[in-house]
């Protein structure tokens, strides 16, 4: 049977040796789940991103930032044998559940923009997305075929 591996906020996990596994990010609000997958080799990684961009000159280590997490994830995927030309991505999340009086908090939108830009620069095509809106989501990425199931409270279950 499939077994779930939970990916918490500000971390990423890679599965390369077992295609029965499912990578799961629960309760994505403004956070963005980014699943990068090599279909030929069935290697995949899921990052649970909190913030769009690390501040300059410092803090290049924290995986809560999109740029840092995706860079590290790509390096680790390459190390596990994934080939860059075969990688595709799916992104889920980036919602805005409520408004807070501060522009900085259009964080969901900014996460989406930032991740799309980074993936574009890395030349990784985004094959599926379920982003935005005003509700939370849970994503499950299946290593066997790269499909992603999106579950939410307000919208219907979806496969992308």
């Amino acid at each position: 049977m499939n077994s779930d591996i939970n990916v918490g906020i500000g971390e990423y996990k890679i599965v390369s040796d077992d295609d029965n596994k499912v990578l799961k990010a629960s309760g994505l609000g403004s956070c963005l789940g980014v699943f990068i997958y090599d279909k030929k080799r069935k290697i995949g990684g899921l990052a649970h991103i909190l913030l769009p961009q690390s501040p300059n000159h410092k803090d290049k280590k924290s995986l809560k930032y999109a740029d840092v997490a995706l860079n590290n994830l790509m390096n680790d995927l390459a190390e596990k044998g994934a080939k860059k030309d075969d990688l595709v991505a799916k992104i889920v999340g980036g919602a805005q559940l409520y408004y807070v009086e501060n522009d900085m908090l259009k964080i969901g939108e900014r996460n989406i923009e930032s991740v799309e830009k980074i993936l574009c620069e890395m030349k990784i095509p985004i094959l599926g997305r379920d982003v935005g809106g005003d509700y939370g989501r849970t994503m499950e990425a299946y290593l066997s075929d790269g499909r992603v199931r999106v579950i939410s409270f307000k919208a219907k279950e979806k496969w992308i």
Binding site: G27, G29, L50, E101
Partner: protein, 230 residues
């Protein structure tokens, strides 16, 4: 006092502050529903970002409210997150609207505004006690009803709290309010006041989390100034 010992002391002082707010909030809630409300497990937690899902996050659907709180000078900027498990929220609506327990099974506009009102009262009384103790005034933003995954509701708070912060630790004061019907000696009774024949009672759980975020240093500074800790 070395630094490590000092930081434990800070957390203790912060917990005292939280306890005071929670006590005030519980008695306001108790006034509102005319029943005793107990505070259980008040604690201060220092959590790593990826641990939060196990504590208050995850994909459980909750009903609640996130409120940003600020003082006049914006030195203090935190969040109060109040949530109810679904069934507890329905019970509160039953209580406030004078229904038999178990009648509410879904939230209409009336139910949603009842829940928002409860959150509003809890938040304001928590803030009042907290602000009094620090000698400042704290203003909560208007509450907004939310029904969604607990983890999803937390995201904005975390993003706000942790942006440009180098470690991934989150400080949170967390407590649970409980309303159960019991006898004076503490035993649960089978058939409570106003109970229906199927034994459903007016019981609920409510959770309150306060995230001081980047204001933690300022809060400690105020505590020291006012009460001469150290």
């Amino acid at each position: 006092m070395d630094k490590k010992e000092g930081s434990y002391f800070y957390l203790d002082a912060f917990k005292e502050l939280g306890n005071m707010g929670a006590g005030h909030a519980a008695s306001s809630l108790s006034d509102l529903i005319s029943r005793p409300v107990r505070i259980s497990v008040p604690e201060v937690k220092v959590l790593l970002l990826n641990e939060l899902d196990n504590v208050i996050g995850g994909s459980n659907i909750v009903i609640g409210n996130v409120t940003q709180v600020k003082d006049e000078t914006d030195d203090i900027e935190g969040f109060i997150y109040i949530f109810f498990p679904k069934k507890s929220a329905y019970t509160i609506v039953d209580m406030l609207l004078g229904f038999d327990p178990g009648r509410t099974e879904d939230l209409d506009e009336m139910g949603k505004s009842a829940i928002s009102e409860v959150c509003n009262i809890l938040t304001s009384s928590f803030c009042d006690a907290f602000a009094d103790f620090l000698g400042i005034s704290i203003l909560p933003s208007p509450p907004k009803f939310c029904e969604d995954m607990s983890g999803a509701l937390l995201d904005n708070i975390l993003a706000f709290t942790l942006d440009e912060v180098s470690d991934d630790k989150v400080i949170v004061f967390f407590t649970k309010f409980k309303c159960i019907e019991e006898l004076d000696d503490g035993c649960l009774i089978e058939v409570g006041y106003n109970s229906t024949t199927n034994g459903t009672k007016f019981e609920f759980d409510c959770y309150l989390a306060f995230f001081p975020g980047k204001s933690m240093d300022k809060i400690i500074e105020l505590l020291i100034k006012k009460y001469g800790y150290f």
